[in-house]
Every structure is written in C-alpha cells, then in structure tokens.
Amino acid sequence: MVRVESPPTDREVPVVRVVLLPVVLLLGATAAGSALVAPAARIPVAVCGAIATLVVAVLTVALHRARRATRVQRAECEQRIAYLEHRILSHDAETVRLTKEVMPAAIRRLRVGNSPDEVMRDIVDADAANRHLPKALREQIHQVLEVIDNEEARRDSAQRAFVSVARRVQAIVHRQASELREMEDHYGRNPEVFDDLLRIDHGTALIGRLADSIAVLGGARPSRQWPKPVPLFSVLRGAMSRILEYQRVDLHSISKVAIVGTSVEPLIHACAELLDNATRYSPPQTRVHVTAVEVQTGIAIEIEDGGVSLSEEARARAENMLAQAQAGINMNDLGESPRLGMAVVGRLSRMYQLQVSLRQSAYGGVRAVLIVPREMITTGPAPGIAHGIGATSRPTSSLDMSQLQHVVPPPGKRKPKPAATGPVPSVAAPVPTGAPAAAARPAAPAAAMEDDVPVVTEWTENGLPQRRSRGRAPLGSHNLPQQPTPPPAAANGFQPGPGEGADGGRGEEKPPGLWLEAFTKAVNGVPQERKHGEDSDDAWDKGDLK
C-alpha cells in the first residue's frame, strides 16, 4: 500500500524531462536536416520537422498522462481490494463469533424457556458487541431461534404424548394388578387356577415396567406412590417381580432398613432395570446375586451376574450411556432397537441422586453397584405391609391372637398343660398317641374344612353342636366367657404373677397354635381323667390337669 502511493508524488516533476528528450532530439534532427538539404527545400523540411516535433511532444505528453492515470487507478484499486479483504476477514471473525458465542448463548436461553423474541432482546440488543449486527444477520439469528423453538415444542408435545400414553397403561396395569391380587386371594385354594393367575400377574408386571420405562424416558417421574416406608427387602423383591427371570435372582444379606415412601418406586424401577440387564446378559443357568450393605453414604446395592465379562470398551460404552442419560437424552436418540435399561437407570439416578457404576465382577460377569443416598433410608419400623417379612407378620398374628384369646380358657385353667407342650415345641407337639388321640383332631379339621368358618354356637337338645357359618367368634367362643375365676396359678411356671387374670394370659407370648393343641391335649388326656364332680369346667380340667 505504501509502495503504491509513493510513485505519483515523485513522478510529478519528470513529465517535462520525459517530454524534453524526444523534443530535443527531433529538434536537433530537424535542424541538421534543414542545414543539409538544398536551400530551396529547407523551409518545408523545417516545417515538417517542427510538426513532427510537435506531434511527438504531444504524443509523449499524452502517453505519459495516460500512464500516470493508470497508475493512480491501480493504486486506488489495490486500496479497495485491501479494504475489501479487511472487510471479509472481519466478517469471518464475526461469523465465527456468532456461531461460537452468540448462538450457543441464545440457544441456551431458549432452552431455559424464553421465547425467541426475548432471547433476541437479551442476547443481541442488550449486548454492546452485538448491537451493530447487520439486519440480515439479526434476521438469520431470529429465524434459527424460531426453528429451534418450534422443534422443541414439537418434541415436548411428542414426549408428553408418550408419557400420557404410558400413564394410561400404568393405570390399567395397576388396576389389573390389584384385581389379580384379589383373585389370587380368592382362588388361593385352587392350585391350578392360582398358578395361572400368577403367570398372568407376572406378565402384567412386565408390561407395567415397560410403561414405567417409557414414562421415565419421557421425562416424567414414576407415578406410583407408596404412602409408607417399605423395607428394602420388599423393595428388592418388588424389583424382582418386574423382571422376566426373577427365579435366577438370589437375595443375600439384605440390610434391614426401610426406604421412605417417595423413593420406593424409583428404586424398585432402577433395581428392576439393573436386574433385568443382569439376567438378560448372562447365561440362563447362572444366578444373579444381590446384596445390600450399609456404607458411609447410604446403602450399596450390588447386583452381580455370572455372565460374559464386560470388556473395558463395553464398560465404557455402558457408562457412557449412563452418563448420556444422566445428562438428559431424549427419545429420538434411542434408535430403532432401543436398549432402554441403562437410559432409564441413568434418568432415574439423575432425578433421585442415585449413583450407579458398572464394574467387572469377581465372577467374571458384571457387577452393578447402586448407591442409595441416606436421605432415602429410614431405620424406623416400616409399617407398609410387607407380607412375610418376619417382623410384620408377627404383629398380625398377635393381633389375631388377642381375638382368639377370649376363646381360650383363662390361663389358670389351661396352663397346667403347657408344661407338656409349651417348653418343648420341637418334640413335634406331643402327638396324640393311639386311638384316643385321634378323637380330638376331627373336630377342629371339620370346622376348618368348611368354607365359611363355621362356628359352633349352640347346642341342640340331644347334645349335638349347631353351627352358624357367619359368626366371627371362633370355635366354641360363646361357651367360655363365663369362666369361673381362675384358680391360683402358683402351680404353673408360665404365669408371671398370681395377680394376672385373663389379661396376663393375653399378653403372654403364646404361639397361636397353642389353643387348638390344648384342646387336642385335653381330649387326649382322657385315659387318666379325674372326675372332678359336676364342675362346669369339668371338660377342661379333665385334660389339662392330667
């Protein structure tokens, strides 16, 4: 540029010099010519010479002018080019900045929930660096934002549709599950029907899990609510009941804690997906081992399978999938044959602060560790019915016991007998020996065999029991209330204090089967029956006091 501008200034002067040389030469030639030719031709020659000189002078000047003009033009041209290059460079830089900084910022704001117009105002207008953007670029940004906004809206609505469909399926499955449970109770005595019901129940649970997965991937939280804490053991069995091959899962040393109600469903679901993975990707004859131990941060649930070893690469892929899911993937990324498991676990773990990691197991398979945070755990008693969990099934029985107790004669009358049975339960309940033994049994069985709990409530004149099917009171209850006061119980070791009446007996830890057995014993005792006279307690004493 400097080079271009300098020439015109120092070429300005030489114009005269450039013209001078040809003019002087021509003048000299003319003068020489006119001197050499004959005097007659001298004048025309001089005139011609002068004209030629003039022409040459004019031409030279013109030529020079033209050259100078070209030079100036070129200089201008180069200047323009330089300017344009500069413009292009800065434009490029601007574009880069737009793509690298402005657009991402704008899109981020859009995702947060602002409308395209708001984003334009915040990002473009409010920023000094962006305010001077050309109109076309502003237009472009705006359009891009509009398109993204529309897409997001469409995707959102698609997801919502997914979720709402999933919710409906869940509702149906839930209702069907509770109806199936009713039917299972109802047909519990018919093994064929019952087994078929269980099979349907299992299938329903699998459908339910799929619906749950779709809902979770659609960004919703699990719908099912558990109002009360549920023991971890039940949670894990709940997870087992939602996978296909639950038979292969073994639960070992499950920590005795309960999970707070709100966290039960996500935990069940996450465990179910991990268990499903474990059973699905290991040979069918291997077992899957589950343990749950307490760690500093909460409870670590370990799910270990004996499947193919997880190569480092596969592990990386799986973890990557988890990480992606935790970052929030959408349904479109799942592909045609989606492997939902990890995506679901990732989603759930992000929503509920669970930590999941996959490692190689000592058995060669995969060990998935799920850390349940301490906030989800409660060590208090879990009131949620978990059937079978020892702690909860016992109270139920003791409750029933208290109902039964009033049927059973007060301890004083019956107690003597436990000396035979109570302390040594392992002796297979001193079984009725011989024929008399048999006498007692049928009475109870006969009652039990009836569907509607027939209860002996009254007696006919000729001494036969009359049954009423609807009574709540168990066998023979009406007979017992008017028991005379119990005789001093000092004799029997069971009774804690003499002052305790029927209440003491009730509070006592007494296995629920005892009363029936007592009855059995009572009748068995006949061989050495002692006639007590016509005491109304005769029948009881007969057996009990033997």
Partner: protein, 123 residues
C-alpha cells in the same frame, strides 16, 4: 373367610405390597406341591435362621406349636397356594413336619366322644 378379605383388599389398594406373590412362591414350573390341605397340622423342627426367606422364617416361628395350614395362611395374609408352596420347600428340607388330619373312619371309642360331649355340654 374370603369375603372379608376381599373387602379389605378393595378398601386400600395402595397398600398392596411391591412384591408379587410369584416372587414369594419361587419357580412355578418345577416346584412340586406337597400334599397339604387346609387342616394339615404343621410343626417346626428348627429355629429360623437369618438365611431363610422371611416368609419361611415366619412360618418356623409361628409353628413352634402345631398350627394348621389354614391358620398359617391367615396369619401371614398369604393365599393358601402360596403357603403350601412355601411349606413344600420347608418340608423338602425337613425343617418342618406335617401331620395329615386323622381320618374319621379310624376313630374309635364312642364312649370317649360321649364323655367329651357331656363335658362340653355342661360348660
């Protein structure tokens, strides 16, 4: 027996357990149910240990004294078939002993029955 329970179940479906019954019974296909009926008496032969399934542990605790299958079913709140399946496992490992009810035909001693009847009548 089934009437009240059905009502109860209907009343609070939210209190359903997370685990389904088939998880408790275990594998359906290869389990052979022992011949148990509602009135079979069951006695535990061992103390429950922590390694047992909770239901089985509960059965062992309940059956310290002889108990009928129907009662076990009622106390555990589990259908009869589930209980028999659990009991079958326990029977197979000889942790419990079952006694079939005595058939009436083998019953004896009419005088004994009468004595009992008189005794009861006088109550």
């Amino acid at each position: 027996m089934s009437g009240p329970r059905r009502e109860r179940r209907k009343a609070d479906p939210d209190l359903l357990d997370p685990e389904r019954l088939y998880v408790i019974t275990g594998d359906l296909d290869d389990s052979e149910r022992a011949a148990l009926d509602l009135v079979t008496m069951v006695v535990a032969q061992a103390e429950p240990s922590p390694t047992f399934q909770p239901e089985q542990a509960a059965i062992l605790r309940l059956c310290q004294a002889p108990l009928s299958v129907a009662e076990i079913s009622a106390y555990l709140g589990l259908p009869f078939s589930v209980v028999t399946s659990l009991l079958s496992d326990l029977l197979a490992t000889e942790l419990i002993e079952s006694r079939a009810p005595i058939v009436r035909a083998t019953l004896p001693d009419r005088s004994l029955l009468e004595a009992v009847m008189h005794g009861l009548q006088k109550l």
